[in-house]
């Protein structure tokens, strides 16, 4: 028998170690859960880290109100099956309170998630949020720590990060400050899919190829929904698509695909030529630094 861990075992073990450090060092952590594939990996890791006990933290969904119903149904079923607690922090509540002011009612809501997240952190006095961000997603993320320090305003200061050496994580904070912990920092999109396959993880069905009404708008595929209606002179097509990420409807686009199983998705991911965010995150295409700017404002 070989006495070295394979890459998936190694990544899993590292993620478990990070989660247990959060549980050991922080007094009131929370796990951010969206129903998306990365946060589903986090849940499996939490099971491996803490069962037969309960999770030493609740889960929290920052709900933009612009979700695919398949994802919300899946989220609720998953929480029920795990028997853990879910907190829902809703952008609609922040809008009602007046802390989020939309320029127009159909404006993409992704960037406003930071406000609701920071409000929830303050309300529940969380000292750490565990998230499913990965360093391969984006340039700014490539430089972020596994335990990333945020000040009282939730801000990330890329030039003044705590050095992170070996596997020694410093999650210490003062009241009001916050750590964002990213256990799957070192995973790539491919690792996530391989892990989903190995662990036989259930996913919301919109990750798999399905027929959907779409239009093509400036190079992107836009799904037709109540929130993203067809515009004049646009031609609706009914084609096979799947989502590579799921999030706010207004800024998550599907890709054309026939891949209806995890195995086929892995093969497609291996041969694709467009990065995950490049293909599907309309909010990252605004400028080369948009993720960095959002993170400085308190984004995941």
């Amino acid at each position: 028998m070989k006495k070295v861990l394979t890459h998936l075992d190694w990544l899993e073990s590292e993620a478990i170690h990070i989660m247990r450090e959060v549980a050991g060092q922080c007094s009131n952590p929370v796990l951010l859960f969206s129903g998306g594939k990365d946060s589903l990996c986090l849940l499996r890791i939490a099971e491996k880290a803490f069962r037969p006990g309960r999770f030493p933290f609740p889960m929290m969904h920052i709900d933009t109100g612009h979700n695919y119903s398949e994802v919300i149904n899946f989220r609720d079923k998953k929480v029920h099956d795990l028997g853990e607690r879910l907190i829902i922090a809703s952008l609609d509540d922040s809008i009602k309170k007046g802390t989020i002011v939309l320029k127009s009612s159909d404006e993409p809501r992704n960037k406003y998630q930071s406000i609701t997240l920071l409000e929830a952190i303050e309300e529940h006095a969380f000292d750490c949020c565990i998230g499913g961000a990965r360093r391969d997603e984006e340039k700014a993320r490539a430089k972020e720590r596994i335990m990333s320090f945020r000040d009282e305003f939730g801000q990330w200061d890329p030039k003044n990060q705590r050095p992170e050496l070996w596997d020694l994580y410093n999650a210490k904070t003062h009241k009001g400050e916050n750590i964002r912990a990213f256990p799957i920092s070192n995973w790539t999109e491919m690792d996530v899919w391989q892990y989903i396959e190995r662990e036989n993880l259930e996913l919301p069905n919109i990750y798999f190829a399905h027929k959907r009404e779409i239009v093509r708008r400036s190079g992107s595929i836009i799904p037709i929904t109540k929130i993203t209606p067809v515009k004049e002179n646009e031609v609706i097509e009914n084609i096979m698509v799947r989502f590579r990420t799921v999030g706010d409807i207004t800024c998550t686009a599907p890709v054309e695909s026939e891949a209806d199983t995890v195995e086929k998705i892995i093969l497609e991911t291996a041969s694709t030529s467009i990065s995950e965010r490049g293909a599907t995150r309309l909010d990252d295409q605004v400028s080369e630094a948009s993720m960095e700017l959002r993170k400085k404002e308190g984004y995941f």
Binding site: K3, V4, L5, T6, H7, L8, D9, W10, L11, E12, S13, E14, I16, H17, R20, E21, G24, E47, K48, A49, F50, R51, P52, G53, R54, R135, D136, K139, A140, A142, K143, P158, K159, Q161, P163, E164, L165, W166, D167, L168, N170, T173, H174, N186, T188, M190, Q194, E263, I266, L267, A270, T272, S273, I274, S275, G278, A279, E288, A289, L293
Partner: protein, 428 residues
């Protein structure tokens, strides 16, 4: 298209400055292994054009933050990933110039291998020695000395050979630090793509492997000298309150095997208490396993009810390791605020945290001459030998025997910033 099946993970770092073509080497590795996707590439093309360049500047692949792109420098360690089907690679890309020591130490702390870049026109420089010393200090066992920009010296074999000889001469001087290293040399031209992924046909005189071939075939299984079991406990599971009555008295201890192997029925003791028991069950989640191997995160339960909490360490019963409250360590100071000898700091080691006092600054290492110098204070990027006294005993090994249980970080008690990194040197 083959379905990817990756084998093991290899973490490596690249040492050198922008001038040595370090970013181009990484860019080339990612580009030639087809890790760079078309949208990233088109963004890089755009930026290359904006900067008035005709070719794609592969070094832009590794430029991360807005401030860095504006100033054309790298500020912080960045992590990159690529995969060949044989191995998954994690690259720690540390900037070469400013804050070099701090960033290099950070990158080296998790690396198994370091690529040291030398500009073929310049040969061995002070920074080459500095990089080699730091890689060695941080316990890296494998070095690839890459003589880059061979295209600019007409791929001259003799120049390459004399650089290799000079390097070996220099390395002899520091060979005692943390034991021997496995050193490989190769000539390359990152900009032309010679000897990185493809051999090219300009250096047919060179019979050694390409960079990627070396990475693919490196054996790291012997790197951990210390084979004794080290299992620091991170978290204790007491599911007591759950409905399942069988679990009412269940206690499980959670942590990662930092070194050694652990089997069911193994006789163990808990440090620092010294309480003894044996292993009843080892799990990874729901799965019960017979034997746990290094780097595996496990949940163990014991035959006897003994008190264990976070910060304790499980070792085999016949192990002679002792708890220590005083030791000397090589420290790299990371903070802008200098070390203050009369202050108390927090020391984080494995899953333990202890208050620590500075007993003495023994000497400082001049990072350019590698000589020891007297010192009364420690500033950013300084490396020094320091003696500590702790409030709680640590279960520690010497860093040269065990990188995981020989390392610690120093945390400022008031700001909670990480201000230093240390490598323990125990007396035998």
């Amino acid at each position: 298209m083959q379905k990817p099946t990756d084998d093991t993970v290899l973490r490596f770092m690249t040492c050198g400055s922008v001038d040595d073509g370090k970013s181009t080497v990484i860019g080339r590795l990612l580009f030639d292994t087809k890790t760079i996707l078309t949208d990233t590439l088109s963004q890089i093309e755009k930026t290359s054009k904006k900067k008035g360049m005709s070719d794609i500047d592969l070094s832009l692949i590794t430029d991360g933050l807005q401030a860095e792109r504006e100033q054309g420098i790298t500020i912080d360690v960045a992590y990159r990933y690529f995969s060949t089907g044989k191995r998954k690679y994690i690259i720690a890309d540390a900037p070469g110039h400013e804050q070099y020591t701090r960033n290099m130490v950070t990158a080296a702390s998790t690396a198994q291998l370091a690529i040291i870049l030398i500009d073929a026109r310049k040969g061995i420089l002070t920074q080459t020695k500095r990089h080699t010393y730091l890689a060695k200090l941080l316990g890296i066992k494998h070095i690839i000395v890459a003589v880059n920009k061979m295209d600019l010296i007409n791929y001259d074999e003799n120049t390459y050979k004399s650089i290799c000889t000079n390097y070996s001469e220099f390395e002899k001087n520091i060979s005692s630090l943390n034991g021997p290293m496995n050193i490989n040399f190769l000539p390359m031209s990152a900009i032309k793509g010679d000897m990185i992924v493809d051999r090219g046909d300009s250096m047919n005189w060179f019979k050694g492997s390409t960079l990627l071939h070396l990475l693919e075939n490196l054996d790291t299984t012997e790197d951990i000298k210390e084979s004794s079991l080290r299992l620091p406990i991170q978290y204790v599971c007491r599911p007591g309150g759950l409905a399942d009555e069988n679990l009412h008295d269940f206690r499980a201890f959670m942590g990662r095997i930092e070194s050694g192997f652990l089997k069911v029925n193994d006789k163990i003791k808990v440090l620092p208490s010294g309480h003894e028991s044996s292993i009843k069950e080892i799990r990874i989640g729901e799965k019960i396993i017979e034997e746990a191997i290094p780097e595996q995160s496990v949940t163990v339960s014991l035959m006897d009810e003994i008190d264990i909490s976070r910060g304790d360490m499980l070792v085999h019963r016949n192990d002679s390791i002792n708890a220590t409250k005083e030791f000397t360590a090589m420290v790299c100071w990371l903070s802008e605020t200098p070390l203050s000898s009369n202050r108390t700091y927090l020391l984080m080691h494995a899953s333990q945290t202890s208050k620590a006092k500075i007993l003495a600054i023994n000497f400082k290492v001049n990072i350019n001459s590698l000589d020891s110098e007297d010192a009364t204070e420690l500033r950013t990027n300084d490396i020094a030998s320091i003696s500590f006294k702790l409030a709680q005993p640590l279960i520690a090994d010497s860093y040269d025997k065990n990188r995981r249980t020989g390392a610690f970080i120093i945390v400022d008690e008031s700001t909670y910033h990480t201000v230093g990194a240390g490598m323990i040197q125990l007396l035998d």
